[in-house]
Assembly symmetry: C2
Homo-oligomer: 363 residues x 2
């Protein structure tokens, strides 16, 4: 079956704004009269420098990032950050608090245990991660080098409904699947990191936003130069060749976000999109949400019927209608609709309509 453009509900990599792809397409062989495509440019050239500088400046504008934070364009995904954070930061008292609210925060804690004393501040694993630990459940150590959370749990479809209060201990957040989905107060965090492939850019780019005072901690002596935040910050993400093309697409996405009206507008749009699906779920006898109400993600909407065959049928029929990648992660089963910034409202509406139709046809 051949499609023009489908509605792609992939958890990541995921849809990019069509306007962004059109610009990239147009500039593929010749960027702005330079006679080169962006993939072909020396990262040290003036023409490329303008792109990376603009990407950073636009991101600062989009997220309202204060001057005392550095924005780094790195590689290796959130998974490399699972090691990079402790290598650089678990180096004062040698211990850190991890809140476990899903698969990735669990993996982050496991990786960090190679580098020091990982303390589980709270976990909802015994509840199969149907919710996120609340503030009053967090056992926080005031001597911890940082507190780590995964803000939005891609697999489970849950999100923090509050920013943990951690006193003087820096809060480190993996925001891979929710970064730039709504305004966030960056000053509440010591480090925000995110794989770019959901809301920002193609896979291969990792965003790290880090408060400058944290760069003064002394990393473990075996830290690779490519994993040393301070060195990478001093070299402005150009210690070696950065993932240039992903950064270029990131710049186009930042332009698009600003053009759309910024994160306040995106938040409104994303909340409305998510509501289209949650309203169906709340009024359905067939489909069930898998996350407690207060922790429902506006980026990853997870749901299921009680019948695995019916789940499979739903996914198959949706795919045939040009709505793809709705299969839930094997850890949860059922369905997941990832509705990142670039997924158009009409796509979400089409899915909501199809859910109702499917329920009517499968009583």
């Amino acid at each position: 079956m051949a499609f023009n453009r489908i509605f792609n509900f992939s958890a990541g990599p995921s849809m990019l704004p069509e306007e962004v792809l059109q610009i990239a397409q147009k500039e593929m062989l010749n960027y702005n009269g330079s006679g080169m495509g962006v993939m072909e440019m020396s990262h040290r050239s003036k023409v490329y420098d303008e792109i990376i500088v603009a990407a950073q400046a636009q991101m600062r504008k989009v997220m309202n990032i204060p001057d005392n934070y550095k924005v780094l364009f790195l590689q290796g995904g959130a998974t490399l950050q699972f090691a990079m954070v402790p290598m650089n930061l678990m180096t004062v008292n040698g211990k850190a608090d991890y809140v476990v609210s899903g698969s990735f925060s669990k993996k982050a804690a496991e990786e960090a245990a190679k580098y020091g004393n990982v303390q589980i501040a709270a976990s909802t694993k015994s509840e199969n991660f149907t919710r996120v630990p609340q503030q009053n459940e967090l056992k926080l150590d005031p001597e911890a080098d940082y507190v780590h959370i995964c803000y939005n749990n891609t697999i489970y479809g849950s999100v923090f409904n509050y920013i943990p209060e951690t006193g003087n201990v820096p809060l480190v957040a993996d925001m891979s699947s929710c970064i730039m989905s709504e305004p966030i107060d960056v000053t509440k965090f010591g480090v925000i990191y995110a794989g770019a492939q959901k809301n920002v850019a193609p896979a291969g780019l990792t965003i790290v936003i880090i408060r400058e005072d944290l760069l003064e901690r002394t990393p473990k002596e075996y830290t690779p130069v490519m994993m040393n935040y301070k060195t990478l910050a001093e070299k402005n993400s150009m210690y070696n060749t950065p993932p240039c093309y992903s950064i270029y697409i990131c710049k186009l996405v930042m332009d698009w976000l600003l053009n759309m009206g910024g994160l306040e507008v995106m938040q409104k749009r994303n909340t409305e999109k998510a509501a289209l699906l949650y309203d169906v779920l709340d009024n359905s006898k067939l489909f069930k949400p898998t996350v407690e109400k207060q922790n429902r993600s506006i980026m990853n909407v997870t749901f299921r019927t009680d019948d695995d065959e019916l789940n499979a049928k739903f996914i198959k029929e949706a795919t045939a209608r040009g709505m793809s990648n709705l299969k839930g992660h094997r850890a949860v089963g059922g369905m997941r609709a990832s509705i990142y910034n670039a997924v158009p409202t009409e796509g979400v509406r089409a899915l909501a309509e199809f859910m109702k139709e499917f329920e009517a046809n499968n009583k």
Copy 2:
């Protein structure tokens, strides 16, 4: 000044074949009727799996890689390999031999010293890297865990004119700037690695070709999961989201290479291209090569006049004629023409002609 397509002699990132860019342009919003661009695809999807599997299979064909080698698609560039190689492999006797033939092999040795005993087997630093150490100069330790070389020195424009004989000690080679420029006997190497941004794909992809028995060494206990060769090999480069789009372009470049006739044809073409420039240099009273004859690279041709102002004038005038990025690295000065696979012969010929013209006009 606005150009259509220039001749881009950048040391990397560098030119890609125009045919490859045209396919990427055409498929930007819709790959093969899937209704998605390649940047938007789940890395776990069937449609993307075909791309990554083909990229790997085509690369095996292009380089004639034996079955007992794994091909990995990683991130972080050669610089991350500078740490990854010793973390994984300097773990038997805790020592390795490094041949220092330029800036990057020197950096590799410095990084490796964090992880064990680095022995300098030979160095041409005192000669300002105008040549590569020869076999009879190498002080090799039969107990070393490996021997490391940088096969082609991008900055100095030099290349190994032989494959070091290392007995039972595995040879590890950084081939960032010469991979796939000519046929190479992979069986002579334990590990070949390369940043992709010169001959293979856009920046953000790192190729690692590793002999399977080396995966059985026990990495340092603090090795991040994203730097563990064995784990990455077992997960077929998909422990987390790989740099999907760069891998797609890599696949298109592999198709292009096979279509061109493979590496024998590329070697002939590259040798002829390089000869166009070296012939001018050998017959010039103005321009001088900076590398000894036996170690001249066919990928990076370095040269200079004795007059810095004249060097600057040459670069400026060449740029105005659509021949860009000819400035040599600051460590060498003068000029450097990087003439990777995708730089067309007509571009090299235009440069050779301009060199002669410039000499005639600046006697």
